[in-house]
C-alpha cells in the first residue's frame, strides 16, 4: 500500500509544471554561476572550496522549491476539496504522512540538483581562464552534494513540510519559507557571518556559535576553511569533522525530531475547521427598524468617502496578514541590530561613532530597499487581486464606484507599505539617538529618505500595478513583476547600464556631514522626474484597462484603451508624456553628449587603442621632477579648479634625452617643455610628444609648464572638488610623464580576445605613500593656493603669507626643505585650533559640528612628537596640520608632508568618551603623525620590503606610544586586530606569501604581521635597541633626496645590536614565513606558607613554516616567549599594579611545564598576551585561574 502511495506521489509531483520549471531554472543558475569565474586570487574556479561556497549559498534558494512541493504534497487535498474522499478511505496515517514527506523531499532534491550539473557545465564549457581550472574530479562536486545539498534540503523540507502539515494553510507555508530565508540573513548579520561583508573579522567565539547554529552549514564551512591558504582550497576536500560534523549531525537530528513531533501532532482525518470562541453576546435592547430604500449619492464627496473606506479596508487586511507582520518584524529587527552593533557595541576596535543622523541612515538604506521590494512584489498582486481571490469581485464590481477610485485606493495602499518601513526605520533611529542623549535630529535629512528612496519604490509600485492590471491571474502578475524587479537590479548584466534604460537604477544619494548632498549631481532629480513620468503613464494605462467584471483578454483591453478619452484624461496623459520625454532627453543630453557616456566596452576600446599606439614609448627614458611651483585656484561653489604649474625636470639617465612623451589626466592648455617642439598631439587619447632639437644632456634640467582647468560637466561626480570639503591631490590632475601602463587592459581574457600580448606585471608599491618610480626623489615645493572667501585652503610647506583679494583668500606655502611629491590641496569652511608646542605649530582644521575629539587629537599629537623626537630624531617641519575631509573618501587618513588628512567618520565622529574602550582616535593620530618620520623623513626605496619602513614602523610607533598613554591594554586590542588581519588576509590572497622583509603590496603583512614582528623584536632586544636601529637609519637618510633605504639595510642594523645567538631567530621572523600555535594547556596555583602563590602552568608551543608551495610544515622551536600572570584580564591592564609576572621564558619543547612565584592571588595566566607571535588561535592563549 505504501509503495503504491509513493508511486502516486511520484506520478503526481512529476506532473506539476513547476517541477521542470524549477529544474531548468536551477540548471541555468548553475551554469551561470559556474561560468562566473568568481574566486579569490589563486583559487581555482572549480576548486572544492568554490563549489562548496557557491552550492551552499544557493541551497538557500531551495527553500522556495521546497515550499512549493510541501504545499502540493500536504495541502492539495484541502485545496482541491478532496479531503472528504481521501480521509474516508482506509489509508493509514503513517503511510499518508511518510509518502507525502518523501515526495516533498525527493522532488525538492531532484529539482535543485541540476544546479550542480549546470555548475559543472559552467566551469568547463565557458570562457574561463583554463589555468585556474583544475582537472575534473567527481568528488569535488559529489562531496558538496552529500554534505550540503542533501542535508540542507532535508532540513528545510522538514521545517516547511511540518508547518504545512500542522497549519494546513498555504499562506503560513509561504511565510515559513520566507521566514527561514530572512531569519538566515538576520542571524548572519548578527553573528558576523562571513557571508556578510563585515569590516570586523569575526571572533572565534562567534564563529563557533554561528558554525553550530547555521542550519545550512555555511558558517560551519567557513569556520573550517577560514584560514585555508589558496593551495589548501585547491586541493583539500572538506573534512567531515569538528564543528562541521557536529553541525550536520545536530541539525539532522533536530529535523528528524521535528518530523516525529509533527507526526504526533498531525491530526489525520480531521478536516480542519477553525473553531473560534464565540464572544458572549450581550442581551441588548434593539430597536427594530424596517428596511427603507435610501437614494445614494455619487458626487465627488461620495467617491472620496468610498476611496477612504476602500483604503482603510486594504490597509487593515495587509496589516493583519502574516507575511506583512513577518517582514515588518524582520525589518525592525535588522534596523535594531544594525544600529546596535554600530552605535552601541562598536565597530572596528569596539569603537562606535557618534550617532549622527547620516551615519544611522547609511545603516538602514540597503535593507530598506530589499524589504520594501519584497513587500511590493508580494502585496501588489495580493492587493490588486484581493477581490478575485476572495471571490468577492462579483459583488464589488457591480457597485457604482469608478475604476479610478478602486485603482487609487489600491495604489495608495501599496505605496503606504514602504513608507511605513521608512517611517518605522526613522523612528528607530531617533529612539537610538535619544537613548544616547543626542538630539540633533536633522529632520530634513530624515525626510530626504522619503525622496531619495521613496521615489524609486513608488515607481516600482506603479509598474507593479500596471503589470497586475494586464495580467490574467494573480500568480502571473506576481511572477512577471518579480522578474522585472530582478532584471532591473541586474541590468548591468544585460548591457542596459545606461540610466535611462536601467529600470530602477537610481544613483545613490551620498551624504556626508561636511558637504551634505551637494556633491551628488542633479542626475537623481532628473531621473526622478523621468521615472515618475513613466510611472504615471503606466498608471494611466492601468486604470484605463482595469479588470472589472469578467476578465477580458489583451485585444479587448487594447480596444478599451483607445476609447473614451475625456478631456482631462487627454491633458493628463499629454502632460505625463511631456515630463517623461523631457526629463529623458535632458538626462540623455547630459549623460551622452556633455559627459561622453562610455560603456565599459568603450573604455576597453580606449585602452586597447592607447596601448597599440603608444606602448612603444614605454621604454623611453623619462626626466624627473626636481621642483614644483603651482598656483591652484579653487572655486568650490562652481565645482571647478585651475592649476598653473611651473616645474623643473632633470635628466637622470646616462644618455641624452631627445623625446618626451606625456599622457594627460585632465585636458591641458599651454603645455611647454623648455624649447622642445610639440611634434604630435593626439586629442582623443590625450597624449603629447615633444622633441628636443638639441637633446637634453645627462644631469641637465629643463623648465616644464602647463595650465589646466578641471570642471564638472553634466552629471559628473567628482569627490575631489565639492562645495565643502575639497581635497585635490596631484594624482587627480597631474599629467603622466611618459607612457601610463596603468591605462592598459589588465584582464587576461580580455587581452586574449583583442589579440593583445601578455602583460608583464610591474611591481608598484601600494603603500600609504604612493610613488611612481624608483628614480623619484624629494623635490622642492612652493604653491599659492586660493579659494572662496568663506573657506580656508591648506597645502604642504610653511605658510609664508596669507591675504584676501577680489573676495578670495590666498595662501602662499613653501616647503623649507625638499619633500616627497605627495602633496594635496584642501579647501573647506574650517574651524581652526592652533597650539604651539615646543616650537612646533599644531594646527587642526575641522568642521564646526565635529569638535568632539579635538582635545584628544591634540594630546596624541603632543605625545607622538615627544616620543618620536626623543627616539628617532627631530621633526622635519615646523608645523603639523591635521585637516578633516568628507566621509566619501574610503580610507582612514593620509599623511602628506607636514599635513595629514583625516576622514570625518573615522576620526572626528568616533566616540571615545568612554575611558575603558580602545582609543581609536589616539591610534589614528599617532599613526599618521609618525608617518612624518616613516615615509617623509625616512623615505624607503619603493621595492619589496619598502612598506616595512612606512607602515610597519608606523604601526610600531602606534604600539609604543599607545602603551605609554594607556597601558598594556592598548597593545592587546591593537595586536589582536593585527593578528586577525594577517590571518584572514593571507588566506584570501592567492599569490605566494612573501616574507616580511620582501613584502610588496600585501596589506595583511604591512599592517598586520609587521607589527607582530616588530613587537617580537622589541621583546627580544629591548625597546631602546629597536629605537637605536630606527634612528640610525633615519639619520643616515634624512638629508638624502634619493629614496634608498631598504630592508637589507634594516636587517644589517638589527644584527648590529643583537647578540649573535639571536640572529637565527631574527632571520626566521623577517626572512621566512613563520607562524605559531601557542596555548596554555592547563594551569593551577597554590598558596605557599609565606603568603606567596606558586603558579604551575603547562604551555604548549608549536612553530610552523609556510613554504613557497603553500605547504605548511612544523619546525622546531627554541626562543624566549613572554608569559604573563595578572590580576585582571590582560586586555584591561592599565598599569603595572595588575601585572604579577611578565617575563620571557625560553621555550624549546612542544610541551613545557613552568613554575612561577607571585606575590598576590593570580587571576589570569597567558602566553604571549600582547601579540608578538602570529598565532591563529587566540582563545587558548589566556585562561582564568
Amino acid at each position: 500500500m505504501f509503495k503504491k502511495l509513493l508511486q502516486f506521489e511520484v506520478f503526481y509531483q512529476l506532473k506539476q509544471r513547476a517541477f521542470p520549471i524549477f529544474a531548468i531554472l536551477f540548471l541555468a543558475l548553475g551554469v551561470f554561476v559556474g561560468r562566473q569565474g568568481f574566486a579569490s586570487k589563486g583559487v581555482n574556479f572549480n576548486s572544492v572550496f568554490q563549489v562548496y561556497f557557491h552550492t551552499s549559498i544557493f541551497t538557500l534558494g531551495s527553500v522556495f522549491i521546497i515550499m512549493f512541493f510541501a504545499i502540493s504534497a500536504m495541502l492539495r487535498d484541502k485545496q482541491h476539496n478532496m479531503e472528504s474522499l481521501i480521509f474516508s478511505s482506509s489509508i493509514k496515517k503513517s503511510h499518508y504522512f511518510w509518502s507525502r514527506f518523501i515526495g516533498t523531499f525527493l522532488f525538492s532534491a531532484l529539482a535543485f540538483s541540476p544546479f550542480l550539473i549546470g555548475y559543472i557545465f559552467g566551469n568547463y564549457f565557458s570562457s574561463l581562464d583554463p589555468e585556474r581550472l583544475g582537472d575534473f574530479r567527481l568528488m569535488t562536486y559529489l562531496q558538496p552534494w552529500f554534505y550540503i545539498v542533501l542535508p540542507n534540503i532535508f532540513i528545510c523540507s522538514t521545517i516547511v513540510f511540518s508547518v504545512s502539515t500542522i497549519t494546513k494553510n498555504s499562506t503560513a507555508t509561504y511565510v515559513s519559507a520566507v521566514f527561514i530565508y530572512m531569519l538566515y540573513f538576520v542571524s548572519s548579520i548578527f553573528l558576523n557571518s562571513p557571508l556578510m561583508a563585515q569590516a570586523v573579522p569575526a571572533s572565534p567565539e562567534s564563529m563557533a556559535i554561528a558554525a553550530l547554529a547555521d542550519p545550512f552549514g555555511i558558517a560551519a564551512f567557513f569556520e573550517q576553511t577560514q584560514y585555508w591558504t589558496a593551495f589548501q582550497k585547491n586541493t583539500q576536500l572538506l573534512s567531515f569533522s569538528g564543528l562541521f560534523l557536529w553541525n550536520r549531525f545536530v541539525w539532522i537530528v533536530v529535523s528528524i525530531g521535528i518530523l516525529l513531533g509533527t507526526y504526533g501532532l498531525f491530526s489525520f482525518r480531521k478536516i480542519s475547521k477553525k473553531v473560534k470562541k464565540e464572544p458572549i453576546q450581550k442581551k441588548e435592547e434593539v430597536q427594530l427598524l424596517t428596511y427603507q430604500p435610501k437614494k445614494g449619492l455619487y458626487n465627488f464627496k461620495a467617491q472620496k468617502t468610498a476611496f477612504f473606506s476602500l483604503l482603510k479596508l486594504e490597509i487593515k487586511s495587509v496589516f493583519k496578514s502574516l507575511p506583512f507582520i513577518a517582514v515588518l518584524l524582520m525589518w525592525l529587527f535588522i534596523v535594531f541590530s544594525e544600529l546596535y552593533s554600530t552605535v552601541i557595541s562598536g565597530g572596528e576596535y569596539g569603537v562606535s561613532v557618534y550617532p549622527f543622523t547620516n551615519q544611522l541612515i547609511d545603516l538602514i538604506v540597503d535593507p530598506l530597499t530589499i524589504f520594501s521590494l519584497i513587500l511590493i512584489v508580494f502585496y501588489s498582486s495580493e492587493i490588486v487581486w484581493k477581490e478575485r481571490s476572495a471571490n468577492f469581485n462579483n459583488i464589488i464590481d457591480a457597485v457604482p464606484v469608478k475604476n479610478g477610485v478602486f485603482f487609487s485606493s489600491k495604489f495608495s495602499a501599496l505605496v503606504l507599505l514602504p513608507m511605513l518601513l521608512i517611517t518605522s526605520g526613522i523612528l528607530m533611529c531617533m529612539i537610538f539617538q535619544i537613548g544616547l542623549n543626542y538630539t540633533n535630529f536633522e529632520l530634513s535629512l530624515y525626510a530626504s529618505l522619503y525622496y531619495h528612496y521613496g521615489v524609486q519604490l513608488v515607481v516600482f509600485s506603479m509598474i507593479a500595478l500596471f503589470v497586475n492590471s494586464l495580467a490574467k491571474s494573480k500568480y502571473l502578475g506576481m511572477g512577471i513583476f518579480g522578474l522585472i524587479v530582478m532584471l532591473s537590479l541586474k541590468s548591468g548584466m544585460l548591457g542596459l547600464e545606461h540610466p535611462l534604460t536601467s529600470l530602477g537604477f537610481m544613483p545613490r544619494a551620498t551624504y556626508n556631514n561636511m558637504d551634505g548632498f551637494n556633491s551628488a549631481s542633479s542626475l537623481f532629480d532628473h531621473l526622478a522626474i523621468y521615472w515618475l513620468g513613466l510611472g504615471f503613464l503606466l498608471v494611466f494605462i492601468s486604470f484605463k484597462v482595469w479588470n472589472r467584471g469578467v476578465i477580458t483578454n489583451i485585444s479587448f483591453k487594447l480596444k478599451e484603451l483607445k476609447q473614451g478619452w475625456a478631456t482631462i484624461q487627454k491633458v493628463t496623459f499629454t502632460l505625463c508624456m511631456l515630463l517623461f520625454i523631457g526629463a529623458g532627453s535632458l538626462v540623455f543630453y547630459n549623460v551622452n553628449i556633455v559627459s561622453d557616456y562610455e560603456t565599459s566596452n568603450d573604455n576597453l576600446d580606449f585602452s586597447e587603442n592607447y596601448e597599440r599606439k603608444y606602448k612603444k614609448y614605454e621604454s623611453l627614458e623619462r626626466p624627473y621632477l626636481t621642483s614644483r611651483k603651482t598656483e591652484v585656484a579653487i572655486y568650490p561653489e562652481q565645482r571647478m579648479y585651475t592649476v598653473m604649474a611651473d616645474y623643473m625636470l632633470k635628466n637622470k639617465s646616462e644618455e641624452p634625452l631627445s623625446e618626451i612623451f606625456i599622457t594627460e589626466r585632465v585636458s591641458l592648455k599651454n603645455i611647454k617643455i623648455g624649447n622642445a617642439r610639440l611634434v604630435e598631439h593626439d586629442t582623443f587619447s590625450g597624449t603629447y610628444l615633444f622633441k628636443f632639437d638639441k637633446p637634453l644632456l645627462p644631469n641637465d634640467s629643463v623648465r616644464y609648464t602647463y595650465k589646466l582647468k578641471s570642471e564638472l560637466k553634466g552629471y559628473d561626480t567628482n569627490r575631489t572638488i565639492v562645495n565643502n570639503g575639497s581635497y585635490i591631490g596631484h594624482r587627480n590632475f597631474e599629467p603622466v610623464l611618459g607612457y601610463g601602463s596603468g591605462l592598459e587592459i589588465t584582464s587576461r581574457i580580455e587581452r586574449q580576445k583583442r589579440g593583445l600580448p601578455k602583460r608583464i606585471v610591474e611591481y608598484n608599491s601600494a603603500a600609504h605613500i604612493v610613488l611612481d618610480d624608483v628614480k623619484n626623489e624629494k623635490i622642492s615645493f612652493e604653491t599659492i593656493v586660493s579659494t572662496d572667501s568663506d573657506q580656508t585652503a591648506i597645502s604642504s610647506g610653511s605658510l609664508l603669507k596669507e591675504w584676501s583679494e577680489n573676495n578670495r583668500n590666498y595662501y602662499h606655502y613653501k616647503a623649507s626643505d625638499k619633500i616627497l611629491p605627495a602633496v594635496a590641496y584642501f579647501s573647506s569652511k574650517y574651524k581652526t585650533k592652533k597650539t604651539t608646542y615646543k616650537g612646533i605649530s599644531i594646527e587642526q582644521y575641522y568642521d564646526v559640528n565635529h569638535n568632539f575629539n579635538i582635545e584628544e587629537i591634540e594630546n596624541s599629537v603632543k605625545h607622538t612628537l615627544d616620543y618620536c623626537q626623543e627616539n628617532f630624531g627631530a621633526y622635519a617641519f615646523d608645523h603639523v596640520r591635521i585637516a578633516e575631509i568628507p566621509s566619501h573618501w574610503p580610507f582612514g587618513g593620509f599623511a602628506h608632508p607636514g599635513v595629514i588628512s583625516m576622514v570625518e567618520d573615522r576620526l572626528y565622529l568616533s566616540d571615545v568618551s568612554n575611558e575603558e574602550i580602545f582609543n581609536v582616535v589616539a591610534k589614528r593620530t599617532i599613526h599618521e603623525v609618525s608617518h612624518q618620520w616613516w615615509g617623509h623623513t625616512l623615505s624607503a626605496k619603493p621595492i619589496a620590503g619598502g612598506s616595512l619602513f612606512v607602515e610597519g614602523f608606523a604601526k610600531y610607533t602606534e604600539a609604543v606610544v599607545l602603551e605609554k598613554m594607556y597601558g598594556k591594554r592598548a597593545l592587546y586590542e591593537l595586536t589582536d586586530n593585527a593578528r586577525r588581519r594577517y590571518f584572514s588576509g593571507r588566506s584570501f590572497d592567492g599569490a605566494i606569501e612573501p616574507s616580511v622583509y620582501m613584502v610588496t603590496d600585501q596589506g595583511y603583512i604591512s599592517y598586520g604581521k609587521a607589527l607582530t614582528v616588530m613587537l617580537a623584536l622589541r621583546d627580544l632586544i629591548g625597546e631602546k635597541q629597536v629605537n637605536i636601529v630606527l634612528k640610525t637609519i633615519t639619520d643616515r637618510h634624512r638629508f638624502i633626496n634619493k629614496l634608498e633605504a631598504n630592508s637589507i639595510e634594516l636587517l644589517a642594523e638589527i644584527y648590529k645590536v643583537t647578540p649573535i645567538k639571536q640572529h637565527a631567530l631574527i632571520n626566521d621572523w623577517f626572512k621566512k614565513v613563520i607562524t605559531y600555535d601557542l596555548g596554555i594547556e592547563e594551569s593551577s596555583y597554590k598558596k605557599l606558607i609565606n603568603g606567596t602563590y606558586e603558579v604551575t602552568v603547562k604551555v604548549k608551543a608549536k612553530r610552523f613554516e609556510t613554504m613557497d608551495s603553500g605547504e605548511v610544515k612544523q619546525i622546531s622551536i627554541d626562543e624566549p616567549i613572554k608569559i604573563g600572570v595578572f590580576t585582571t584580564h590582560p586586555s584591561i591592564v592599565k598599569d603595572d599594579s595588575s601585572i604579577l609576572y611578565y617575563e620571557s621564558n625560553q621555550i624549546n619543547k612542544e610541551m613545557t611545564e613552568i613554575k612561577i612565584i607571585v606575590k598576590e592571588k593570580p587571576k589570569y595566566i597567558s602566553i604571549d598576551p600582547y601579540g608578538t607571535r602570529s598565532d591563529e588561535n587566540l582563545v587558548d592563549n589566556v585562561i582564568s585561574l
Partner: protein, 299 residues
C-alpha cells in the same frame, strides 16, 4: 415605471460557443422569473445585465440608459446577488455591509447605520453582525448577499439562484421580502426552482441553450398545455419502452412507484389519467419539445 429592454443580445466566446443567442426581452416593474437548466446561460445573462460582462452583439437599456455604454450609470440603480460569491476574510458582517453601503453611495453616517441595521434585522443576521462573514454558514452568507443587494435604492434587482442553501423558512422570508420590494422595482429572479417562479412571478421566460424559447405569464403558459398532460403509474422496467412509444416529459417516484407524465393531444393508451398541468409540467414539456426539435409557437 422602470423598463429593461434587451434587444438581440448575443455572447459568443472566441471558441465559437454561443452563451447567449439573440435574446429579446422587455421587463417592467415586478418579479420576473427566468427559468433554465444549469448551463443554459442564465448566469451569463445576469452578469451581462449587471454590467459585468460585455455582450458580443445586441443592446441592453434600462430606463433609456445604455447598460453597455454607461455601466457606471446602471450600477447606481443596481442590486445584484451573484450565484456564488466569497467574502474578504477577517471582517465582520456589520463592517463589510457598512463598507458596501458607502460604496453604493450612502454617505451620511446615520442613514447608513440605520439601513445597515434594518437590513441585518430583515435577513435575520443582526445577532451575528459582529462575527466575521468568512465564518458564516452557507445560508447565513446567502442572507448577507441578499442584504447587500438591497443597499441604497436599487431599481433593478437581479438575484441569481438566491435560495440556494437556504432552509424553507429562510427561503420563505426572503421571497416574501422580494415580492414586497418588487412592487415598484424590477426584480429578475433567475432560478431552476420552478415553484418559486410559480409562486412569485407574474411574468417569466425559459432560457435554453442561450435562447429564450418561451415567455409570458405563468398561468397563461400553463393553460396552453391544458388537456394535454397525462399521467400513469408504471413498473420501473418499462420506462424505456414507454419513452420510445410516447412523449414522456417526466419520470417521478411517487411513494416508491414510478409515475410518468406524457404530452399528448389524445389519451396515449389505457391506464393514463388526464391531469391538470402545473408550471413544472409546462417546463418539462417545453424542454422536451426543444430536445425533439418540435416547435411550439407560444411567445
Amino acid at each position: 415605471m422602470n423598463v429593461l429592454e434587451i434587444k438581440n443580445l448575443s455572447k459568443i466566446y472566441p471558441n465559437g460557443v454561443k452563451a447567449l443567442d439573440g435574446i429579446n426581452l422587455k421587463i417592467t416593474n415586478g418579479m420576473f422569473g427566468l427559468l433554465g437548466a444549469n448551463g443554459a446561460g442564465k448566469s451569463s445573462l445576469m452578469r451581462t445585465i449587471a454590467s459585468l460582462q460585455e455582450p458580443t452583439l445586441g443592446s441592453i437599456s434600462f430606463n433609456d440608459i445604455d447598460v453597455v455604454k454607461q455601466p457606471h450609470e446602471i450600477r447606481k440603480q443596481l442590486g445584484y446577488l451573484p450565484q456564488e460569491f466569497g467574502v474578504y476574510p477577517k471582517i465582520s458582517a456589520e463592517k463589510l455591509l457598512n463598507h458596501l453601503a458607502i460604496l453604493k453611495g450612502i454617505i451620511d453616517r446615520k442613514d447608513r447605520k440605520n439601513q445597515v441595521t434594518a437590513l441585518l434585522q430583515q435577513v435575520n443576521l443582526y445577532q451575528h453582525r459582529k462575527k466575521a462573514v468568512y465564518t458564516f454558514s452557507g445560508g447565513m452568507r446567502q442572507r448577507f448577499g441578499i442584504a447587500q443587494a438591497l443597499l441604497a435604492n436599487p431599481k433593478l434587482i437581479i438575484v441569481d439562484e438566491p435560495t440556494a442553501g437556504l432552509d424553507p423558512e429562510e427561503s420563505n422570508r426572503f421571497l416574501n421580502l422580494l415580492s414586497e420590494i418588487g412592487e415598484n422595482v424590477i426584480v429578475i429572479l433567475s432560478t431552476h426552482i420552478v415553484e418559486d417562479v410559480r409562486d412569485l412571478c407574474p411574468k417569466m421566460a425559459i432560457l435554453y441553450n442561450g435562447k429564450i424559447i418561451t415567455q409570458g405569464n405563468p398561468s397563461e403558459l400553463v393553460a396552453t398545455i391544458n388537456g394535454r398532460i397525462w399521467s400513469k403509474i408504471i413498473p420501473k422496467k418499462d420506462i424505456d419502452v414507454y419513452k420510445k412509444a410516447f412523449d414522456v416529459i417526466s419520470t417521478k417516484l411517487v411513494s416508491g412507484e414510478t409515475q410518468i407524465r406524457v404530452l399528448s393531444e389524445t389519451k396515449p393508451e389505457t391506464g393514463f389519467e388526464i391531469i391538470a398541468p402545473n408550471l413544472e409540467d409546462f417546463y418539462f414539456a417545453t424542454l422536451f419539445n426543444q430536445t425533439c426539435k418540435k416547435s411550439l409557437s407560444y411567445v
